[in-house]
Structures are given as C-alpha cells and as structure tokens.
C-alpha cells in the first residue's frame, strides 16, 4: 500500500518549495486592493475584474515556473534573451507598426508584441551576468561596456517614442551598474553633465513629450487634453480627504471624470475612495515589498543574484513611484502602470517574472556553494 497522505504531503511540499511566502503575501495584498479598485473603476460590469483575475492566475503560474529555475539557469538566459530583445527592438525600428503615432509594436500576423517589455527583464539580467563574468577582474572599461549595453536598447525604445518604458528599462540597467559599484565621482559627474545638457535634451524631445512637461507645470493650458487628466486626477485625490469617500462612492470616478481609470490612473480612483489612510497603507505595502526584495538581495550568495535582486526590487519601486507621482501631479504623464494594481495582462506577467526571479534567488541560496 502506498501511503496516500504522505505522498500528497510530499507533493504539496514540492509545490511550494520555491515560494517565498512573505513576497507572495505582500503582492497578494496589493493585488486584492487592485481587483477591488478595478471593480469600482468599471462599476457597471464585473467583466474587467474577472479578466484581471484571470491575468493574475496566468502571472502566478509564470512566477511559479520561474521560481523553480536555479539562478545558474537564469544566467544562461541572459545573453539569448538580451539578443532576442535587441533584435526585436531593431525590427520594431525598421518594420514596427504605428499606433498613436508611436512605433512600439511588432506584428506577428495573428498577434502583435511589444518587444520593449522583454527588455525590462532582459536588461538587468544581461548586466548582472556581465558583472558576474568579470567579477574578479573588474576595471573601469567594464563600466563603459555596461553603459553601452544599457544605452543601445534605451535609445531604441526612447526613439519609438516611449519615454516611460525607456526610463524603466534604463533604470533597471542603471541600478545594476550602481550596485556593481559605479564610483560616486562618476555618478555625480554624470548628474552634473545631465543637468548641463538639459536644455539640449529639451530640444530632442517630441512635441507631445514637451507638451506633457509643460502641462505638468501648468495644467490649465490644455484643459480638454492632457491637462485634463492631471486636473481631474488631482481633484479626485484631493477631494478624497483623510478618510476617503468610501468604496464605490468616488464621484470623480463614477461621473467619468477620470481618464484611463482602470489602467494608468487607477491610483486616482483608489485614492478618492480611501483617502490619505488608504494611500499610506498602499505606500506601506510597497515599502514592505521593497524591503523584502532588499533582504533577498543582501542575503544572495553570488554577485549575479545580488545585483539582479537589487535591480528588480528597485524596478518595482520605480514603477510605483513614477505612477503615483504622475497621477498626483508631481511627475509628467508617462505611460507607466501602477504595479500589481493597474489592469493589464502583459505588465502583470512581467512583474511576476521579477517576483519569480526574486523567489528563485532566495530559495536556491543554500544550494550554491561559494
């Protein structure tokens, strides 16, 4: 006789062997808030909420698979994934299809893909691999090569133009370089040079990008267009007050004043209904997520896994900060969703790829011999 319960128990253990429960609980909490807010934002139907729940299911499966891959395996993906991403970006540059005046998509006939999404993971993976490879012989020139690896995809994405994604990809890459020990002198030098070059960069921006920045400074210049988004989102947040108007009671949301209310501007919906208390809770949840990510990075045994975990975690922070900043009117409107909250399958899968990688790094740390 086979001991059925023992077998089941073994299976169950195996199933969760590479799951990091603190991470899972924190993301589940944020996603729960997200689902409830998607429902409120698309009040009259549960359709979006159900389809977002389905997206979450898919994303969790992706996370489970990735968490089971040991970091060495992840390392072996670094070059192919980066090269595929790069080739696809060049393909977008040459043959991409234009939507809303921007070339971001590649048509595969039956569906279309946005290759810049791949780079969000491929970039930190590649750079972490690169620094791992030259760990023992690291020289200044390696930072130069790393910068090149970063800048080429960044330029291709910025050229599409998709400044939001370019910043996220560029950020993810920069974080790896930062954690790898980019000298402070260089960093401050670059910062100073960037500030000096700002007027030139201004001229390189597209008209609509410039308009977004100007609109941020004075939303009333374009009250029917982009300024409208900022004005209405700010009113939603401000009118929410300390305790919010209550779930499903946001007037800004339900009178349809908030644009993109279940995607990029979902934070305005949440903030109107839950107020400052709700905002503080959400920011606290993101802080917990980042704290757990940094703990995993600090405990990671190899340079590769340290850099990767640190960069991915800071990536989550960048998403959250840029989104909440733009919705509350302190950053220009760039198309960045609120992580684990905004409606949308692709972004969710990318995010959980990141979570899966963090889990893999953490649950495989004992197996790696120094």
């Amino acid at each position: 006789m086979i001991d059925v319960s023992a077998t089941l128990r073994r299976w169950a253990r195996e199933l969760v062997a590479h799951i990091d429960f603190p991470l899972l609980l924190i993301t589940a909490a944020i996603m729960g808030v997200g689902l409830a807010t998607v429902y409120s934002a698309t009040y009259d139907s549960t359709h979006r909420m159900m389809s977002q729940a389905a997206n979450m299911g898919i994303a969790l499966v992706v996370m489970w698979f990735v968490s089971r891959l040991p970091p060495q395996k992840l390392m072996s993906f670094a070059i192919p994934l980066y090269l595929i991403g790069l080739i696809l970006l060049v393909a977008v540059f040459l043959f991409g299809i234009k939507v809303n005046g921007a070339k971001r998509w590649l048509s595969l006939g039956f569906t279309r893909i946005q290759p810049s999404e791949i780079m969000k993971i491929a970039m930190p993976l590649m750079l972490a691999w690169y620094f791992q490879k030259y760990e023992a012989t690291l020289r200044a020139r390696h930072f130069v090569v790393a910068a090149m690896l970063l800048l080429v995809p960044f330029a291709l994405i910025a050229k599409q133009p998709d400044l939001g994604t370019a910043l996220l990809v560029g950020g993810a890459g920069f974080y790896v370089i930062f954690f790898a020990g980019l000298p402070w002198k260089v960093m401050f030098g670059l910062g100073a040079a960037g500030a000096a070059a700002a007027p030139f960069l201004w001229h390189m921006l597209h008209d609509y990008q410039r308009k977004r920045i100007l609109t941020l400074l004075d939303p009333t210049t374009d009250p029917l267009g982009a300024g409208y988004h900022i004005i209405q989102a700010t009113i939603a947040i401000g009118s929410g007050g300390a305790f919010g108007k209550g779930y499903l009671n946001g007037t800004q949301t339900h009178l349809e004043f908030i644009p993109e209310k279940h995607t990029d501007f979902i934070f305005a919906v949440y903030s109107e209904e839950w107020g400052l208390i709700g905002n503080a809770t959400l920011v606290f949840l993101y802080t917990l997520l980042i704290a757990r990510g940094f703990m995993i990075a600090a405990a990671a045994p190899t340079l590769f896994s340290r850099l990767l975990a640190g960069a991915i975690t800071l990536g989550f922070f960048t998403y959250a900060f840029i989104n909440m900043g733009m919705v509350s009117g302190i950053l220009p409107v760039v198309g960045v969703p609120l992580p684990f909250m905004s409606y949308g399958g692709t972004a969710l899968v990318t995010l959980f790829l990141g979570i899966g990688i963090l889990m893999s790094i953490h649950t495989h740390r004992m197996l790696v011999k120094k």
Partner: protein
C-alpha cells in the same frame, strides 16, 4: 577608482549601496506622502469644492463642419442649425416619467422614443441625448414655459448636416453619422480624442470620411458654473471653436446630375476626369441613395431597404466594382505593341474569323472574319483575331508590365473613404498574380492559352471604372498621369487660404508621340466609321473612343443571343472616350451592368455627358438604348 576585486569588500560595498537605495526609496515615498497630505488634508476643502463644482465644468463647443462645394461653387454639403430637446439621463430621476411628461408639452412619437433608447445604449450616462430633433419655434417656446418641471432636460441648438442635392453625387460626397466604437478607435489612432469631445457625428464614407480631420475643425470650450439642477448659471470663460476647412471639388454637380439621369434605372458607373489635372468631373455609381437619411440616424426600415435591395445602391461601383474591360482594352494593347516594337501601324494580318492555338479555336465575333486587318481597322471594327495573335506574340509578362504603368490592377488612391482599403484593386493578370491567387500547384501555373483571351480584355482581367477612366485620361494626356482626385483645394474658412490637393503629376510614361497619335486616330475612327459611329452621329466635336462588351456568362460554343439570356446574365456594356480628340478636356469610362453591347447602351450615355460638358446641351430624360446598334455592329 578603488579596489575592484576584493570579494568581501565588494559585498560590503553592495550592502552599503543597498542602504543608500533604501534611504532613496524612503525619501521618495516620503515626498509622495507629503504630496498626499498637501492634497488631501491641507488643500482638501479646495478640492472638495472643485469635485462638487465638477458636475459639469467644461462644455465643449463643437466647431462648424466645413462645407463642400463643387467646382462652380454649388453647395453639396452644408450645415443648418436646429433646436433639439435633450435629456441627460444621469440628472433625471425616472426616465419614463420624464418622457411621458415631455410628451404632454411636445409631440414625441414612438419612433423618437425608440431612437432615444438606442442612442442611450451607445452613449455614456452623463451625456445629453436628443429625444426630439428639429423643434419648431413654437415648441421651443412651449417647453421654455414649462422648463421648471424638467430638471436635466434642455433645449440645445445643434448643427445638422444637410446634402441639398439629395442623392446627386452621394457616392462621392458620402455622409456623416453618429460616432460608433470603431470610429472612436480611429479618433484615438489619430490622437484627436480631446478635439472630439462634444462631437457626435463623423464622416462614414466618401469625401466626408476621407477629409474628416480637415472638415471637423478645432473644438472650443466654455467654462460654465452649474447649479444643482444641472442648469448653467454663468459663463466663466469661452474659447471659441475654429470652423473646419471647406472643400472645393473638381466635380461638376450639374454634369454629375445629368449623368445620373442619363443612367435612368440602369445599374452601372461612369467616371469622368479632366486629363490635364486628374480632377474628377463626375463620379457616378447607379443606383444611388439619399445621404440625408443617415444624418439623424437612419431608421432600421430605410437601412434594410438600402442594404438588401438587389441592385445594391450602397455599393460604390466606381471604385468597388471590378469588371472585365472587354474591347476597351484593345487601344492599350495596340499602344503596347507600338511602344515595344511588336507591330507597326500598317502591318496587317489576314483574319479568317478565328485563331487556332494548340487544339483550341479562339473565335472572332464576326463570322468569316474581317479580311485584311491593320491596326487602325483592328480598333475601329474591334477585330478580335488581331489581338489574339498580338497577345500571343507579346506574352503575358509584357502585357502585365505595360498595363501596370497605367495603374490598371492597382488602387488609384482616389480621395474617398478613410484609407484606400475601401477601393478595389481589380485584377491585372500575370503569372505572379495567379501564384498568389490560387493555392493548388496545378492552378498556380500560367498557361500560354490564357494569355490569348487577355488580349481582348476578357479572361482574368478585371478593373474598376475609375481605373479605366484614369487609364483613358492618361492616354488622352499623352502618358502624363495624375492621381484621380475629387478635391481641387482645401479652403480655410476664416482666412480663405487655399491648399491644392494634387497639383503634381504622378508620373510620365514617356510614350512616343507618334504612337499615341496612331491610337488617337483609330479611336476617332471608332466614332466616325466604326462601332461608335451611330452614337456620335452628328457630333460637332471630334471624339476618340472605344466600345467594349464584358462577358458575364460564357456560352460554350453557342452564338450569344441577347433575348435568350436572362437580364442578370447579359453582358456588361463599356465605353471609354476622350474629347475633343486633339486637345482633350474630358476623359471618361462608362459601364452599364447587363447593358449588352457597349455601342448599344454605354456609348449613348457618353454622348449625353460630352454634349453637356463640351456644348452645354441639356438632355431630356435618360439615355435610350440604341437597339439597332446590335444588328448593325456585331463586332466587338
């Protein structure tokens, strides 16, 4: 640069940098919380008031849509202002009660209720939706007196689109209709969302659709203070809208009207082009429809009738119907032969009435043949055998290459519809085309026997009337080709500044003048002593032309006898022409579906059009079929 390769100090530095990153994260989140405190606590009262004021703060002011006039200033599409009674469902307690109450004051028919329901399903809750359009002054006054009873209901002045000529030119002008989900996508792709706030109509077909973003104009807005009942108390600020641009067409509305009348109840199409500019003078697809039916939202009954009618009035045959060109293909074949040196004008063949290829006999329409036939005679009497042999000598690749230059088998890019996907490509047969068209290898192969019927415009050949007209215009203009277009210039409504749409030729085919002259002479002969002679008897101007007949139904072995064949299976009649022959001012292609021989029904229509355009002569009634043409001139 420090020590790069001490693993322990590396790890320490990493942890130090993690600490720095943690501080940065906390600082950034702190800034966010600070911003939230500012908005939600310190500024809360301000924003609470704004949110309450927000019930309706910005009212878009829809700009006047540009008007469309023909080449002589005759108005073909304009706007008129009328009062509508509108309900904002979100501000009304019970919709049923409100509408019942309104019905006591103003005449509201069941069909108005039905339309309101339909519009409400499509619209968002906070939009105001018309329950009645075109209120009389008396009705407006009556409602004003009772207005206090109906919060959330208001009288609005709205602009309506009107097509004063009714069905004349409807396939060119198109129409506007209410914005649907698919239109919204289009607006988003054009990044026009902000500009379409408040706009509820959009171009659906024709010029109205092609020039949508020219015609629409720039939306203005008014900041209005609103009371709890949803009524505007006072205007705070007003940015006026900018009217859309006007379109001045190359089309001649009178010519268009006369041409449509000439068709009578025959199905078909005529496209007339000024060969010197590519400007379209008339674009007819018959039967036609009244675009005014669509403006207010077409009733289901009208829609059903238009859509399901067997003669398909909603199909624009001029750009969507692809027909074999029949013998109108022959002048182009002859020109190809001259340009490639495959024939000289005087080179003659002996026509026994058939051409044998392999074990198949290709027959000429004239029993016993035409005798000795040179190029002139081959066009004037439309000799098939001449072109069977010519096609065989030239080969399919040469034919396809030459005809392709004239734009045959390609979209012309005429300025109708959203993009050129509304236009049919037609078929310019070639081995490559066949390879793409068919799946099975045995069907993909090109047989040299297939080339032979291509030579007389049959076989796979299929072109739209606009392609044929454009090719004829190109021939008339000695090979200098323009893109056919309906809009001459776009006119800024305010400043009067104009912008020409297609001032430059598309290409020059570099035809040899003596070759074009030989074809022109033969085409003039068609209307003097050939198949078109009866239709153009007594014309005081010289016309170059060619008749054609396209087989709809192939009769194997039997002689085609019109009376024996059902009307839907009768041949299509075609005619191409340009005039005056020496200095052409107009080039055209006519197609009459199931019209029988080209000389019989298509050429008389062309005669009427040319008589009006060149002489100003007005016809009376529709063109009549020249039935005697059938007996006399069998050969096509």
């Amino acid at each position: 640069m420090g020590d790069f390769h001490n693993p322990d100090s590396d790890h320490d530095r990493f942890r130090f940098r993690l600490g720095i990153a943690t501080l940065a994260v906390l600082l950034a989140f702190g800034i966010l919380i600070g911003r939230f405190v500012w908005l939600q606590v310190i500024q809360h009262d301000f924003y609470r008031t704004r949110a309450e004021d927000n019930r309706i703060a910005l009212i878009p002011i829809v700009p006047n849509r540009g008007i469309i006039t023909d080449r002589n200033g005759v108005v073909m599409a304009r706007n008129y202002s009328a009062f509508t009674l509108e309900i904002t469902p979100s501000q009304v307690g019970s919709l049923e009660e409100t509408i019942d109450g309104l019905a006591e004051v103003i005449d509201i028919q069941p069909k108005d209720r039905k339309r309101f329901k339909r519009l409400m399903d499509e619209a968002k809750n906070f939009e105001s939706i018309p329950i009645r359009t075109r209120l009389s002054d008396e009705e407006v006054a009556r409602f004003a007196a009772q207005r206090y009873r109906f919060p959330g209901v208001e009288v609005k002045a709205r602009l309506f689109r009107q097509y004063p000529l009714g069905s004349v030119g409807s396939h060119a002008i198109g129409y506007i209709g209410r914005i649907t989900d698919r239109d919204l996508k289009w607006i988003e792709e054009a990044e026009q969302q902000a500009n379409y706030k408040g706009t509820d109509h959009i171009g659906k077909t024709g010029l109205e659709q092609h020039y949508e973003f020219e015609l629409h104009g720039q939306t203005g807005y008014e900041e209005v203070e609103i009371d709890a009942g949803g009524r505007a108390l006072r205007s705070l600020k007003r940015i006026p809208p900018v009217s859309g641009n006007n379109l001045q067409l190359t089309l001649d509305a009178k010519l268009q009207e006369i041409t449509e009348q000439a068709f009578g109840d025959r199905k078909g199409s005529l496209v007339a082009i000024d060969p010197n500019t590519g400007g379209i003078l008339a674009l007819v697809s018959n039967p036609t429809y009244d675009p005014n039916l669509f403006v207010d939202g077409i009733t289901p009954d009208n829609w059903k009738e238009l859509n399901e009618h067997p003669s398909k009035p909603m199909v624009n045959r001029a750009i969507n119907g692809a027909y074999p060109p029949g013998s109108t293909f022959k002048p182009f074949m002859a020109l190809a032969a001259l340009e490639m040196g495959k024939r000289t004008p005087n080179q003659a063949i002996s026509d026994p009435g058939y051409f044998n290829f392999g074990n198949h006999q290709f027959r000429d329409d004239k029993k016993g043949g035409h005798g000795m036939v040179d190029m002139y005679k081959s066009i004037v009497h439309s000799c098939d055998t001449y072109y069977y042999i010519l096609a065989n000598d030239m080969g399919i690749d040469n034919i396809a290459r030459f005809m392709g230059q004239f734009g045959l088998g390609q979209r012309t890019g005429v300025d109708l519809g959203k993009d050129d996907s509304g236009e049919s490509k037609g078929i310019l047969p070639s081995p490559e085309w066949k390879k793409q068209r068919f799946k099975k290898p045995e069907q993909q192969k090109w047989y040299s026997g297939e080339t032979i019927s291509i030579g007389i415009g049959q076989g796979y050949n299929a072109y739209t009337p606009i392609q044929l007209a454009s090719a004829t215009a190109t021939l008339a203009n000695n090979g200098v080709m323009f893109r056919p277009h309906l809009v001459n210039q776009i006119v800024d409504a305010k400043t009067g500044e104009t912008r020409a749409v297609e001032p430059q030729p598309l290409r020059d085919l570099k035809l040899k003048p003596q070759n074009v002259e030989a074809i022109r002479r033969a085409m003039v002969g068609v209307n003097k002593e050939g198949t078109g002679a009866r239709a153009f008897a007594g014309a005081p101007y010289e016309v170059a032309g060619k008749t054609g007949t396209a087989q709809v139904f192939s009769l194997k072995g039997a002689q085609y006898k019109e009376s024996a064949v059902k009307k839907e299976l009768r041949d299509h009649a075609l005619f191409i022409a340009f005039a005056p022959a020496d200095k052409p001012k107009i080039a055209l292609a006519v197609l009459v579906e199931n019209g029988g021989f080209g000389a019989q029904s298509a050429a008389p229509i062309a005669r009427m059009v040319l008589d009006y355009y060149l002489l100003g002569k007005l016809p009376n009634g529709a063109a009549k079929d020249d039935t005697s043409a059938v007996e006399d001139d069998h050969e096509e």
